[in-house]
């Protein structure tokens, strides 16, 4: 594809463009944050508590007088890592389990799906508590428990799709040609459900960011003074009426991050 074609495609695809710009900005902020932040992310300042937006502090300060923008730069990194990790574990395991059980069916399907049901009924908070007490507190532990908690929904969706596909003509044809089962699943069936899978992954990404906020709220996520965006947002809630900038800034960054990926996904699916 030549350059002008690419440009034309991009122009016809506002989602992709918007997604790329938003994610580009977020990534830029995260990458810059690796090397430089305007202020020390944990440095407190009693004389500058809960300030609104100003030139000195472009996102204001929090209840400890810390610079919200610097903290957002740091927090975005943690949030992004947690969300990516969660979806990676959840979608990875879920797809394999869903595809295999859906394809082979029978007893294996029944047993595995019952276990998946069991996991689905198991509250993610309890799961997170178990993982935290075995492996300690921190965002990696949070990522693992969220990944496991997300697995069942991916498994169910993929299984449903595989059930739908496996009776279709092209699969029958392939089967007649003697294609092996594994090849059938991963080469013939999965690519056909990539649309549904992609949208579930993006929804999963969104949910991971939001679930992280919920669990951080219960004290099993990132530990202070280093906060993820979700943790910042839940900490900031109580200052909603006095310092709205403290709530809105991390909130908007979360929304932008999720929105950016969602647009990107939408854009990719429309790519001609």
């Amino acid at each position: 594809m030549n350059k002008s074609q690419f440009k034309r495609n991009l122009r016809d695809n506002p989602y992709l463009l918007a997604g790329m710009i938003i994610i580009g900005l977020v990534l830029l902020m995260i990458i810059v944050g690796l090397f430089w932040t305007p202020y020390d992310t944990t440095a407190m300042n009693a004389s500058e508590k809960l300030q609104g937006i100003s030139l000195r502090h472009i996102m204001g300060t929090d209840n400890m007088g810390r610079d919200v923008f610097s903290r957002v730069m740091y927090g975005s990194r943690i949030t992004l890592l947690i969300a990516i990790g969660t979806v990676f574990i959840g979608a990875g395991l879920g797809t394999i389990i869903g595809a295999v059980t859906g394809y082979f069916g029978g007893m294996l399907d029944e047993v595995v799906m019952r276990v998946v049901d069991a996991l689905f009924a198991f509250p993610s908070i309890l799961l997170a508590l178990v993982i935290v007490s075995v492996f300690g507190t921190g965002w990696i532990q949070l990522l693992i428990s969220l990944g496991i908690a997300f697995m069942p929904s991916f498994a169910r969706i993929v299984r449903g799709e595989v059930l739908r596909c496996k009776n279709m003509d092209y699969v029958e044809n392939a089967r007649l040609q003697g294609v092996s089962n594994l090849r059938m699943i991963f080469v013939h069936i999965l690519p056909n459900i990539k649309g549904v899978l992609a949208s579930s992954i993006l929804i999963g990404f969104n949910n991971a960011v939001l679930a992280e906020a919920g669990l951080s709220y219960l004290g099993v996520g990132s530990q202070p003074p280093y906060a993820s965006l979700g943790k910042m947002l839940s900490d900031a809630q109580q200052y909603m009426f006095t310092t709205p900038s403290y709530v809105l800034c991390p909130g908007i960054v979360i929304v932008l991050m999720v929105l950016g990926f969602a647009f990107l996904g939408e854009g990719i699916s429309r790519w001609k």
């Binding site: 069916g105 029944e110 047993v111 799906m113 019952r114 276990v115 049901d117 069991a118 689905f120 009924a121 198991f122 509250p123 908070i125 309890l126 799961l127 508590l129 178990v130 007490s133 075995v134 929904s153 169910r156 969706i157 449903g160 799709e161 059930l163 739908r164 496996k166 009776n167 649309g195 549904v196 949208s199 929804i203 969104n206 960011v209 939001l210 906020a213 919920g214 709220y217 979700g230 947002l233 839940s234 809630q237 909603m240 909130g251 979360i254 929304v255 932008l256 999720v258 929105l259 969602a262 647009f263 939408e266």
Partner: protein, 315 residues
């Protein structure tokens, strides 16, 4: 009939796994119900005596066995924290969460189906684009944040409800439903957005398939094609999703119950995990597991009705 029996046995197996997992989980996480009950002033001897009385010093398998036998006999035990029978406690709270879930589910279906169909039909039209963008934004807002915004706008500014003014269904059913309207909306919003997106995608996908095109080219009017075949097939993934959404609404309304101060099942579950109140946690998780499985079972049945090909293969 045989099929149903098989399913039923499988469900019982799942319940067994779930209940054992909960017991195992509680033996792993720190926290002692006896200590929790007696507090910081108690002497270690007193805590020990209480542990003995509560049977907490018995091996895990003994405790599990005791609980399991009682559970089979319909005895869910007594809450450590509230000293009341768990059954009674849950029975009083279930209507709250269930009402909220059903209201949210109805809103989801009633709002998202028309929107999904309209957007699919007008693919890439102004309406479609607008709804799609609104959808994405709704999905990107954390639930507790949208809950707070709803409270702020509808509660404090428009005064359509009193924040925190929950009225129990035993006192005044009308006020109870009225209070639950906005929390249900908060639960439904992200589900609506997702369903619209899914239904739209699925419809467009299905309509581009050969059979739909063929039907169309044969001169069938689009109305007929759409509703007879396309919609039916497009609904399959959506039904899976809605099934999970319903189960999720029952099991996962914790954030909304928290934000709107609703004393429902999720909040009891959360506080009981915090209090290490096993009998309550066990019973609620079993309840959720049963709901999840029944919903999945129903989804399976609906699958078979909507798409007979699955049934033929499986039976």
């Amino acid at each position: 009939m045989k099929y149903a029996m098989k399913k039923l046995l499988m469900m019982l197996g799942t319940l067994l796994v779930v209940s054992l997992c909960v017991f195992l989980a509680f033996s792993v996480i720190p926290g002692d119900p006896a200590l929790r009950k007696l507090g910081t002033e108690a002497s270690p001897e007193l805590v020990e005596q209480m542990r003995q009385e509560m049977g907490l010093n018995d091996p895990l398998i003994v405790r599990y066995g005791r609980w399991f036998i009682a559970f089979l006999g319909g005895d869910f035990g007594i809450s450590y924290n509230y000293s009341t029978p768990v059954k009674e406690m849950i029975a009083n709270k279930i209507p709250i969460t269930l009402t909220m879930a059903i209201m949210a589910f109805l809103m989801t279906v009633l709002i998202s189906f028309p929107l999904g169909i309209i957007t699919a039909k007008h693919e890439n039209g102004i309406l479609d684009r607008t709804i799609l963008v609104i959808n994405q934004v709704i999905m990107a807002v954390p639930p507790f944040f949208s809950g707070i915004l709803i409270t702020f706008v509808f509660g404090l500014i428009l005064r359509l409800f009193t924040p925190g003014g929950f009225v129990s269904y035993t006192q005044n059913f009308g006020k109870f439903i009225r209070y639950l309207f906005f929390p249900s909306l908060a639960i439904a919003l992200p589900k609506i957005a997702m369903t619209v997106k899914m239904l739209r995608g699925s419809l467009i996908d299905e309509a581009s398939k050969d059979y739909a095109r063929t039907a169309y080219s044969r001169g069938n009017n689009t109305n007929g094609v759409l509703y007879r075949h396309v919609l039916k097939n497009a609904l399959i993934p959506v039904i899976t999703f809605l099934g999970m959404a319903l189960a999720d609404m029952v099991a996962g309304s914790i954030v909304i119950e928290q934000v709107f101060s609703i004393p429902g099942i999720s909040r009891i579950l959360l506080t009981s995990i915090g209090n290490r109140d096993y009998p309550v946690v066990e019973a609620i998780i079993m309840g959720i597991a049963i709901i999840v499985m029944v919903v999945n079972f129903l989804v399976d049945i609906i699958y078979r009705i909507v798409d007979p090909r699955i049934g033929l293969e499986d039976e």
